[in-house]
């Protein structure tokens, strides 16, 4: 699964720490999600979408082999 969190953060001008605070996880968790090392729950995905004011699909997309 790929994600666009880094880009969305840049658009919203948020640091990892600020984003982490907004969705109530630690900064390290944001980092692990950004690097694709951890797949977040739906709850976190929805919270991320809310913060970025976009759809979840705009943040997370399946890769070719995962369809």
């Amino acid at each position: 699964m790929k994600n666009t969190i880094k880009i969305q953060r840049a658009i919203k001008n948020l640091t990892q720490a600020e984003l982490a605070e907004k969705i109530q996880v630690s900064r390290q968790t944001i980092n692990a999600i950004e690097l694709g090392k951890y797949i977040p729950s739906t709850l976190l995905a929805l919270r991320l979408a809310k913060v970025f004011e976009i759809q979840v699909e705009d943040i997370f997309q399946l890769e070719e082999n995962e369809c």
Partner: protein, 309 residues
């Protein structure tokens, strides 16, 4: 995945202190034959009688209680920022802990069997041989090793996580096929033998139907089967089942160590050692019971909601 059933964060330093005191006391009890005089009572005995009815002194019990309570507090207190990723790390560490414990048990058996073979003991339940060897210290290590390994693995991973160096890890699990089926079939075949064992003590004539070789085979094969069963994926393993696994393993640890603590305070001598052997040996059995109970109740709930819809 969410972490549940955790102690508050300030239990950690308390736990570390308790465990350290326990370890120091335990070292003196095991290797320096030290005992706190105030905690002793009863007449000292010698020979076989000393093994079955040792002179009562509660120093070793105190050490075990301190260590287990201390390690439990250290292992299961809330992190400052507990989130779903740390819950994932917990499951991973719980798996590691049980895995390592099995390696330890098997190593102990290989070594013990060689010792027993040297003494020409008949079989593993030969207490006379054990009292000669009087080398059952390893069982105490087997009791606390799951907690210790959990703590080491979990806090190492948390350390890596804090440095953003976490590797892309999946909690260790075997494939559903063929491991799960092998584990289930082996368990169904050999578990009755182990149940028959205490009954045989009451009705010795049952012994005719239970050759020692069969008992011993069951004793070795069962933990392996339980391990395969508990550690293999379901045919449709998903995030929800992972969550159930985490909760079940955690509950297993709590219940297991509560039982060990109760046994430490109420049962003495050979019976205590035998009980520890059983609980350590069949650790994943408790997990499987809890896991399937949870699954079953979830299924019942989902049926109810289907009817309502």
């Amino acid at each position: 995945m969410k972490s549940k059933f955790l102690f508050p964060a300030y239990f950690r330093p308390v736990g570390i202190c308790l465990a350290l005191i326990g370890f120091v006391l335990g070292y003196f009890v095991l290797y320096q034959q030290y005992s706190i005089p105030v905690l002793g009572f009863g007449e000292p005995r010698t020979g076989i009688a000393a093994f079955f009815h040792p002179p009562m002194n509660l120093t070793d019990e105190l050490a075990i209680v301190l260590i287990i309570v201390g390690l439990l507090f250290t292992a299961f207190s809330r992190l400052k920022n507990e989130d779903e990723l740390t819950a994932h790390l917990r499951l991973d560490a719980l798996h590691w802990a049980i895995l390592f414990n099995y390696l330890l048990i098997f190593a102990a058996y290989v070594i013990n069997n060689q010792l027993i073979a040297k003494k020409e003991a008949r079989y593993i339940f030969d207490f006379e041989a054990w009292s000669i060897l009087s080398d059952l210290n390893w069982i105490i290590y087997a009791v606390i090793s799951p907690l210790l390994v959990f703590i080491i693995r979990f806090y190492y991973q948390v350390y890596q996580y804090k440095r953003d160096k976490l590797s892309n890890n999946q909690a260790f699990q075997l494939f559903a096929f063929p491991f799960r089926s092998i584990g289930k079939i082996g368990f169904i075949l050999f578990f009755p033998v182990l149940i028959a064992l205490p009954i045989e003590n009451i009705y010795p004539e049952l012994g005719k139907f239970l050759p020692e070789a069969l008992i011993e085979t069951a004793w070795y094969i069962l933990p392996l089967c339980l391990f395969l069963w508990a550690f293999s994926k379901e045919r449709h393993e998903d995030e929800y089942l992972k969550q159930l696994r985490l909760e079940s393993w955690q509950l297993t640890f709590y219940i297991h160590y509560t039982m060990v603590l109760l046994a430490t305070l109420t049962i003495y001598g050979a019976n205590y050692v035998l009980l520890l052997l059983f609980t350590v040996h069949l650790f994943p059995l408790l997990f499987l019971v809890i896991y399937y109970l949870k699954k079953w109740s979830a299924k019942a709930n989902s049926k109810n909601s289907q009817i309502l819809n």
